[in-house]
């Protein structure tokens, strides 16, 4: 009960009006989950599930997608010469709505599939939906994993709490030191892309990839670490994605809880890979486009999803991944071939993220055009301002630290899990990371994924 109240206070601190929305969403799924379970008639079960899907997606559609559809319709009408403009709702976007909606939706679907039984404990269920560490930006938890933890007794475990604290420190480092520093250069490049050289524009895309990773995986680490302090275990959301040597591997390592959600609740129901190769590739494309749309109500996100679908489809269609590839965890050092593959995957994903970062499609396309303009541009953004150049090398050093720790811990759940057998080295590492976090811990740089 205390945890539920704390979670509601946490959410209400941002905007208390939207507390009613999360309570409504929880109430609907609590009721429908029980109703689906107790109903034996298959058609009625289906209707109840449909009610749950419509209610959840409906809330999401009104707050997140309504204005996008209206604006697109207005543009379409305008192109046909119809001057009538449909009104926009212009509602404030409730933080975390995409995350908790998917979490409650999976609960009713799993009950429908008879994978789990509904809970009778209202407090536990409402606590599961609004669990504050992961409420606003995931990881998206399944009821089968998290809900039983609310019911079981928890005892304080020193080593678990220390592990959680280390993970919080690692998350803070990635967010405050890596992501926020990358953001300064990325913003500078994306805001002045017309004047920058292709090299700088490529660099901007790459650094944005680093920023998003540091920001989002940092948040996930903080959330998982905080949950550990409270005695809860959350799912791993990122597993060293920068070391991926193929797109399929990348998507197994990036935003894992969302991708597995789409796999279980969209890709499999569509038929997965069991209905022929062509249908398989179409299913992949649908999942990626829907995943892009989940990120934001804008054409840029849809195109981002589509570009990644293309990467994935090409890789699958032409069997570009070798069956003999050694698993990352078994590699002692990456071979030149592995490094090349890592670089290619990194570059391709970074380029797709230009759509993700750009405010609209025309800006994204302009950015691409500037990337091919090799004449007459200098690297002014990095060259003319000494501050930025020094800043860039600072950032490079932090990125190396991040990648170094992640490589050492590529088989573990986070970058600080195993450092050294010497206590002095471990303490020194924590001390230096704490100082770095303190140095950069200012300003009010929000997490990128709060907007989703």
């Amino acid at each position: 009960m205390l945890l539920l109240l704390a979670s509601y206070v946490f959410y209400a601190y941002w905007d208390y009006r939207f507390l009613s929305l999360i309570i409504l969403s929880s109430g609907i799924d609590y009721y429908l989950g029980n109703a689906i379970y107790t109903t034996q008639v298959e058609s009625k079960r289906k209707q109840l599930l449909l009610s749950s899907v419509v209610a959840n997606i409906g809330i999401l559609a009104i707050f997140k997608y309504f204005d996008f559809f209206i604006a697109s319709a207005n543009t379409l009408l305008d192109s046909f010469g119809v001057s009538t403009q449909l009104g926009l709702l212009e509602l404030l976007f409730p933080v975390g709505i995409s995350f908790y909606t998917f979490q409650t939706l999976s609960y009713t679907i799993d009950i429908y599939r008879r994978k789990i039984e509904p809970t009778k404990d209202v407090v536990s269920f409402f606590g599961f939906v609004s669990f504050f560490p992961q409420l606003v930006a995931g990881p998206i938890e399944r009821a089968s994993d998290l809900l039983p933890q609310f019911k079981s007794d928890r005892k304080f475990d020193y080593s678990n709490a220390m592990d959680g604290t280390r993970q919080i420190l690692w998350g803070m480092f990635k967010k405050v030191v890596v992501a926020d520093n990358a953001a300064i250069i990325v913003d500078s490049i994306f805001n002045n892309y017309q004047d920058a050289s292709p090299f700088v524009l490529f660099l901007g895309a790459g650094l944005f990839f680093v920023q998003v990773y540091g920001d989002f995986s940092g948040y996930s680490d903080i959330a998982i670490g905080t949950a550990k302090l409270l005695g809860y275990r959350l799912s791993i959301n990122f597993a060293s994605p920068f070391f991926s040597r193929s797109f399929s591997e990348f998507w197994r390592r990036w935003h894992i809880t969302l991708n597995t959600w789409f796999r279980d609740y969209v890709y499999f129901p569509l038929g997965g890979s069991r209905q022929g190769k062509r249908r398989h590739l179409i299913n992949i494309t649908i999942v990626f486009v829907v995943c892009g749309f989940w990120h934001g109500a804008a054409w840029t996100f849809i195109i981002w999803g589509f570009v990644n679908a293309l990467y994935f489809v090409v890789e699958q269609r032409f069997n570009l991944v070798s069956d003999k590839q050694v698993p990352l965890e078994e590699l002692r050092f990456p071979k030149p071939g592995d490094l090349f593959q890592m670089f290619m995957v990194f570059s391709a994903i970074a380029i797709s993220l230009i759509f993700f970062r750009s405010p609209d499609l025309s800006s994204a396309f302009d950015y691409f055009i500037e990337m091919t303009d090799f004449g007459g541009k200098n690297n002014y953004i990095l060259g003319a301002k000494m501050y930025t150049l020094a800043h860039f090398f600072e950032l490079l050093a932090y990125m190396m630290i991040m990648l170094g720790f992640e490589w050492i811990n590529r088989a573990n759940s986070f970058g600080l899990e195993r450092i050294s057998k010497f206590k002095i080295v471990r303490l020194g590492t924590y001390f230096i990371l704490t100082l770095l976090c303190l140095h950069y811990f200012y300003g009010d740089n929000a997490f990128v994924y709060f907007q989703f």
């Binding site: 020193y158 220390m162 604290t165 924590y430 100082l435 140095h439 200012y442 300003g443």
Partner: protein, 407 residues
């Protein structure tokens, strides 16, 4: 659970101790780069200074030590301008408090400080403002009480957050390390000016100051500039009741005065014509310009650079005036008489009081003797002299590079 709490708290305390130990290796003014530059200039001077004036850009741009010195009738004093841009109340209070007790200022006899009130920390400055390093416990409590009395809870919150950030050295750790590797120094052309930096010199380096000047001139094409920001006294005799928030500042002034007494210095806050009235300071030495209407030159377009600062011509006028007021103040004339005195040509009054005070002050004949003592004092700090020479060389080397940062 206990073990976990002890481990985390112990680690936190260890980090704090390490940070504060490192902070202790820095001088009190370390985060104010301009102050660091001026400190080099201050230390490099072999003759030493008797008076320092600490404050914001209004001091930096308006107080010309050489004019001030030559305008003194009876006193022979060497003055130094420690005005640096963007010094808010908290930072000024911190700098003045520390300057009065710091060994580097042992020769200084008079400490002048610019009279100002704590400013609001606006959105743009939140988490970033330089006062962060200066928000020690005393400055923080003063600002906290000031804004609490004004019922401005947003500022109470912001000052509290910035105080915590200051204690944790947030955003400052690299700067603390860098300070040890940074060479400070002012451009050679400023050596003769003892810290004064006229606005006219800044124009070529700062578009902002040039724009401010143009904006000011455009808005005041005719020779009229009405300083609308001066409050008038609300009672007949010109004394209004101090508000509860002003009492916080008055208390601070008394504390500074007490520190000055213990350090055998004279602390004098200066309230310029464009400042709000400030009362309740009868028992303190204060340079108080009184009603701004008595100083029309102060608000003449030809004497101003922009809305808040005088130009070089205005600075000469201001420094001469300040010298007269200073001389009156230390010779025992109260602040409220200043207006009349300046207008009426230094009327002598209260002879007994004046006589008593004059006995304590330096007069021109005693000066040489005093200088000799000062030089001996400096030679005792042999290291310091060497550093000064070294810094002079450095400052020449760095002069061009530093010019931009000064301006």
């Amino acid at each position: 659970m206990k073990k976990f709490v002890f481990t985390i708290v112990g680690f936190g305390i260890a980090v704090l101790i390490m940070l504060n130990l490192f902070k202790a290796t820095l001088p009190f003014y370390w985060a104010n780069e301009e102050f660091c530059d001026k400190m080099e200039l201050f230390n490099a001077d072999d003759s030493g200074f008797d008076l320092i004036y600490i404050g914001p850009s209004a001091v930096k741009r308006e107080f010309i030590p050489s004019v001030f010195e030559s305008s003194l009738d009876t006193l022979e004093i060497r003055a130094f301008n420690f005005g640096t841009a963007g010094v808010y109340y908290a930072e000024e209070n911190y700098l003045v408090r520390n300057a009065m007790t710091n060994e580097a200022f042992i020769d200084v006899e008079y400490v002048l400080a610019f009279g100002q009130e704590p400013k609001k920390i606006m959105d743009d400055h939140f988490h970033k403002l330089r006062i962060k390093y200066a928000l020690d416990w005393h400055s923080y409590i003063s600002c906290l009480r000031y804004f609490y009395e004004k019922q401005d809870m947003q500022q109470v919150y912001r000052y509290t957050i910035m105080f915590i950030e200051n204690q944790l050295c947030i955003g400052e750790i690299f700067e603390m390390v860098e300070w040890h590797f940074t060479e400070f120094g002012v451009p050679e052309e400023l050596h003769e000016l003892a810290g004064y930096v006229p606005y006219e010199w800044s124009v070529s380096n700062s578009k902002k100051s040039s724009n401010q000047h143009d904006k000011f001139l455009n808005e005041h094409e005719e020779d009229k500039f009405i300083p609308g920001f001066r409050k008038k006294p609300s009672t007949k005799n010109g004394i209004r009741k101090a508000s509860s928030s002003e009492f916080v500042l008055i208390k601070d002034l008394y504390l500074l005065n007490e520190i000055a007494r213990i350090s055998e210095k004279t602390f004098i806050p200066v309230y310029e014509p464009n400042m709000n009235d400030f009362i309740g300071l009868d028992s303190l030495q204060v340079i108080y310009f009184g009603d701004g209407k008595n100083y029309p030159e102060y608000f003449a377009i030809e004497n101003r650079w922009d809305f808040k600062h005088l130009n070089e011509k205005g600075a000469i006028f201001h420094s001469e005036l300040l010298a007269k007021l200073f001389e009156n103040e230390i010779s025992g004339v109260t602040g409220q008489d200043n207006d009349e005195k300046i207008k009426g040509g230094n009327k002598k009054n209260d002879k007994a009081k004046s006589k008593k005070k004059k006995g304590e002050k330096k007069i021109k004949g005693d000066k040489k003797k005093k200088r000799g003592v000062k030089k001996d004092k400096r030679n005792d700090r042999g290291k310091k002299t060497d550093t000064s020479k070294k810094s002079k060389k450095n400052s020449k080397k760095k002069s061009k590079k530093r010019k931009a940062s000064i301006n």
